[in-house]
Homo-oligomer: 99 residues x 2
């Protein structure tokens, strides 16, 4: 269970469509399916209800997971982005040297 899988789940949860989730992440449809399947094994329950082929839906567990995971993932990205920005500022402009 790595960050990439979490991003795949979040994309699917928001697109509610394997193909569009794949497009959004520049991945194959198969990869989305593989990852979701693995995550469902990991959690021990289905996250996505594939009843209709027209539009899939999240199970209650999937909805809960999405609600919990999204802000946490966002916070993680922001922490990284902030660090990169600070690093760029330090090395680029500033007082003229690095220490």
């Amino acid at each position: 269970m790595e960050l990439r899988d979490i991003e795949i789940f979040l994309a699917l949860a928001e697109e509610l469509h394997f193909g569009r989730a794949a497009q959004r992440l520049h991945l194959s449809q198969a990869r989305i399916s593989q990852s979701i399947k693995a995550q469902e094994r990991y959690y021990g329950a289905t996250l996505v209800d594939r009843a209709n082929r027209r539009d899939i839906r999240l199970t209650p567990l999937g909805q809960q997971l999405h609600a919990d995971l999204r802000p946490a993932h966002r916070a993680l990205l922001q922490a990284q982005e902030r660090a990169r920005r600070v690093a760029a500022d330090r090395s680029g402009a500033g007082s003229g040297n690095t220490f």
Copy 2:
């Protein structure tokens, strides 16, 4: 940059010692070094100050990153754990069936 790297950084930030961080995660010392080096490339700055061999220290950027990353990572783990718990409850006890 995946979850495992973040965990390695967090362990090192708290242990302030490559060997102990390795023990804590059941990894080799070399792996810690490799991962931290990769992350420093990723962020474009040093995160750890290796001045003294006795005890290493986080750079200011490293401290900031740790402060930001730790709660985000914690939230992520909790989201996963909560989902697993719910899944276990649903399949185990309950009203007697799954739908």
